[in-house]
Symmetry: D2
């Protein structure tokens, strides 16, 4: 029988902070009550800084991040529209597939799993698009399947350099709220996330931000949409309402999660993710393992994909972690199946959680047949955390 | 300041039973864990009797009931398809609008708000459809906006009499789990509900059941769908998985809610709704008020729409109920705005809750200017409940 | 099977407000952590106004109200001490018994159940106590078993008139936090309550306030005490600590409960209890039933004890309320067994809850064989509530 | 600001399992309802095997473990009675003090903190007690302050060898439910625990088991008691009731906690504590630190007290653990203040939790100035856990 806490080290759903969990423990309420907007209106506003935007409009669709992907496409593009997409991991692959099924004419740039979105190739294609046929460029900011971050600022520069006015779609599902995301600065048109990652909530909300340019595009886009329609949503959101019944417990949780992010300070949240991730990476290196990201500069601060040693099946690592140690790591996908596993390190997290992730990864690897020098990984992470303890920690902390 | 419980008498979201609320108070978990199916696989099976089906396939889409509506259409019909729909309330109106926006050729039969779906007119149209152009008939089983139930068995007979093979779509959002719903017997092809009504959960799941005939139709339907795609969903559901992250707390809650329905016994659940609803109706009659349903045989057992007296604005009734008495009643829509309000009486409910609903409705009506003989409504309901106390209540009850 | 909410109309434990319930849903923590006092120190301070004191010292003992009774005696009196006590209900009876078992020399004044503490007789006895042998006078402020409130100010006057310096012990278990309690003005020396009544928490804390005079008395009192020792408790409380492990979830709940009382405003809390209680009393009168309190001026605002009609067993009323209607009323005790039942109306309460209490009492009485004119009781209460709607309710309420 | 889970590694309150936490999230209920015994009666029965008894009577007092200590003494001994007690840690010291304050004539055997109860000296004293003046022997089974376990079977043999009929009192607060405790076999007369240790609940219940001999003694014991009276408690418990309001959420939690212990199997619970504790001990040894227990055979399986290196203040270790790493370790007491700290490892626990405890202990020691070879402690524990993975883990685990 399993005892103790489940060590949840997947890249989402992430651990829900206790205060958020408290906030969601609510009875049902009338979403048409006159004061419902007191809860909801602030959410739209307070999500904006998390997206790094002042100008965009934030919408929340009851559903998953996939729902927000579909909403973004359905509202701003039309069947037959040409779009440029990079494919270098499971989520970019799925997004390509979605775009194709929605009738878009997808020009795919394939690069290796482990690489980031190829900025120079994107630039080349945009430059070559003499007649402006490309209506949108799609980039996954943080490929959750490979632990690779892409250079959105670079993609923006590519667009600008080419004087190209394609819309810029960015999947920030596993980065927004945890890593730097500058929607306005990067002139992102459609930025997408979900409730269950950096926002530290259970799954159930697909969240997106649409730039004024995206909203303008939605007026002429002919893709059919009803459930995901921006206009319907925005008309109701204006009063804090939704066109259909929203998942109210999640909205209460989101209120508390946003308060918590504000309390810690978004720059501190981002710095904490960086600090904790670096410890995990050093631990993995000290274990003598390779990571999937092709270059250190590509490493995600929210998830690390780790190659298992020759002869060790990553699926066994996961199975044994779960069965013996009550720990959940992320499975590998696509070409990495059996050859890798992932450690998620985002959301409501601290040093001790990263250290037990490493310690249990070592135990699970050993159980799956890897030669492991116990303590090496944890020790390297400890060295880093010991030195990198944030200065503010020396100050008297505030009780929540 | 508001004190005490909020008296929630809207037709959804409904009151969540304590045991269900407990069950949803969970930490996050990995929806790719090997034992995730232990939770989910039983849900699909145990939802079947609630729909009254053995043959259909049940699916749950993260989203609202509206999402399930859209999924039903997108998977089984193609743009340009002709469908026959009755419009006699807010939800049938919205479904018509959705069908139109999804490119269907909608033949609408308008009847008064307060009437049920016009079976004989439907029969006539089906009979007149010589070339079998009508691909589907849509009926709202329980019009939540008017408190009117429609005769699905009658619509089935109309189809059969006309030897018509159109698909039969039924919105059972506010009936399934609370009123009789015989999907197989009525040969319904697409039956739709949501988590937040008779299933006694928070909002967040659009649930539908698709007949083998509907699944067959999905193979050739050309409406574009990705998030709502049956095939993707069914492929993953086979192992208890979902194509994207599902709202796990709701799945835990659903497990407990279904156990609870099984424990009470679905026929007892239905009988209880009938008994409690009859008390509300008698109370309303004793207040001297009219209901919106045109005939007693049309009365819904889950919601009653009540006309306010001449000169009394239904919106004022709601506002005063909420501000003074911490009570939420349902607003009126469409032609009923200002002229009616609704009492929801479904889900986890008992006599005392119906009686306070009536008592607070009386107080709110009086506050809004109606002449009310205090106690009349409650007294009539009490008379009924005193006589109709279920025989089993005399037995020793089982502690939950 | 029971469905819907349990209608809890006992005089404690009372309904826990949702926000308090949320606050108690916490993981465990170290009660020796340096910031534990951030939680606890404010509790002692903020309980003071609820007791109506500035001068007294508040203590919380893990245990029930009975524990606080014992702590009060054990710390301030010595075996053999003479004390004067009125006995007119179950709780005064039990307190007499406790005092006797703790070795006190108890002079009991018996009056009828339904009467209040006999101020003039107390005055007489104090006046007759030439040698000042009476060390303490004990009064139950609100006899929960009979729904009778006693005149503490009158007892204080009796003491003052007699120039008697006996300690004044007051049981305010079912009054403090719901009814006026003026510890300093009445010069009460030991005031006792519990967590599960007006403080709207689960049971688990016996709470008392001790005047400077009581603390002085504790220095020479020779009753043995360890767990209940004031000195140990006060020494640790000074830093927000406890001499043994305190029930931390309750402390978190208390924080929220006190915030809520402050938000409503204690005078408003008291006025609300009065207004709601008056509705219950009018309802009971309209049912044609007698109450146990001998005079309207004695009626408690937190609980009403009601005599059942001739031939109707109060125990049957309770049993049927529980089995058929999922409602809990208070049982009768002592000479009232079988002849009465009680409705608790304290804590987190509103009009709708009082109305369903009356409606279900009527149904249960009828089920037990009483002749009931259904609606009479509820109607009378509605009349009162309709007229007595607090002026502030007309204002825009604040969302919690 | 603190983020992530709080790493709670104190010897109580311990981490509450999620299922227990769910079970306590209940609304209030009537503890006089006819079916209340359905909840409570089983608790008394199912606690018996946890105490290792069939013959004893289990009682639960709302309060802390200290309350149960007092109840044990007050019911079975009289002022002036001579008792024999060993003093070798904070809790034995406090129990001595309590006994003295309750008027007992305490013969204390002082041994070093770090030693166990001195069985041979106890034997000697019992042998020397020619006139049978010693009425009771008190032993702390598991000294929480030093991490030392005492030999209760040995004390029993000493009593038997001396043909001495003194009562045997045993404090099992931090052992019962986690370590072997054989009340009947050891002929313990009064065994004491609390809710917040091996029973995995929040604080709030002092729990004891009294042998038939103890109950017999309670008939003649003259210590004054009311709140703690066995007879009152047993009379009410017979029907599943309590003489005063019990903390119902804890009772619901206890039900689930006992189910969980039964599900894991008490022998497995005990083996798990042993396995996890051994890992912690090996880790501590690998860090080069000494433990307080004087001999390996004395080591507790629920808490380890660790001496800090020369020049490193244990209080600093705790402070830094809490402020920098959101971790709570146990403080040292008495002669160990500043020279030690404690790791609690009992209750709902697994390998990952012990490993993060060690990792954070290393970081905190380093922060406090100790020279630490990072990874050494964790590595040694991992080695042990890798080899000691329980056989049953290879089997398919059951989902809770």
């Amino acid at each position: 029988m399993r005892t103790g806490i489940t060590h949840l080290h997947i890249p989402g759903p992430t651990n829900v902070p206790e205060v958020v969990r408290q906030a969601m423990n609510v009875p049902m309420q009338d979403m048409r009550a006159p004061d419902f907007g007191d809860l909801t209106l602030g959410l739209f506003e307070d999500l904006k800084p998390v997206f790094g935007t002042r100008d965009a409009t934030v919408m929340m669709f009851p559903g998953s991040g996939t729902a927000a992907w579909e909403a973004a496409i359905a509202n701003t593009l039309s069947p037959g529209d040409k779009v440029l997409m990079a494919r270098h991991g499971l989520f970019s692959e799925r997004w390509v597939e979605m775009a194709q099924r929605m009738g878009l004419n997808v020009e795919v740039i394939d690069v290796a799993w482990g690489a980031g979105a190829p900025v120079s190739e994107i630039a080349r294609r945009l430059g070559a698009d003499r007649f402006g046929e490309i209506r949108a460029v799609f980039v996954v900011h943080n490929e959750t399947s490979t632990g690779v971050v892409s250079d959105i600022a670079g993609v923006r520069r590519a667009l600008d350099t080419a004087f190209h006015d394609a819309l810029l779609f960015v999947d920030g599902v596993s980065s927004i709220g945890s890593m730097e995301f500058r929607m306005d600065e990067w002139a992102v048109d459609l930025a997408i996330t979900g409730s269950q990652k950096g926002l530290m909530l259970p799954p159930g909300l697909g969240i997106l931000a649409a730039s004024p340019k995206a909203l303008e595009a939605s007026k002429s886009a002919t893709s059919r949409r009803v459930y995901f329609d921006f206009a319907d949503m925005m008309a109701m959101n204006a009063d804090g309402q939704f066109p259909y019944t929203p998942p109210t417990p999640l909205l209460h949780g989101l209120r508390r999660a946003l308060d918590r992010i504000a309390q810690e300070g978004l720059p501190n949240v981002i710095a904490r993710h960086r600090r904790l991730a670096e410890g995990v990476r050093r631990g993995v290196a000290a274990m003598g393992l390779q990571i999937v990201a092709q270059h250190p500069s590509l490493c995600s601060d929210t998830v690390t994909a780790i190659r298992t040693p020759e002869g060790v099946d990553g699926r066994e690592v996961l199975r044994l972690a779960y069965e013996r140690y009550n720990a959940s790591f992320g499975a590998a996908a696509g070409p990495l199946v059996g050859k890798a596993f992932r450690i998620g390190h985002l959301g409501d997290l601290n040093e001790g959680m990263c250290l037990s992730a490493l310690a249990l990864a070592e135990l699970s690897l050993a159980a799956a047949g890897a030669r492991v020098a116990f303590g090496a990984g944890v020790g390297a992470a400890q060295e880093w955390y010991a030195g990198a303890a944030p200065r503010e920690a020396a100050l008297r902390f505030a009780a929540e």
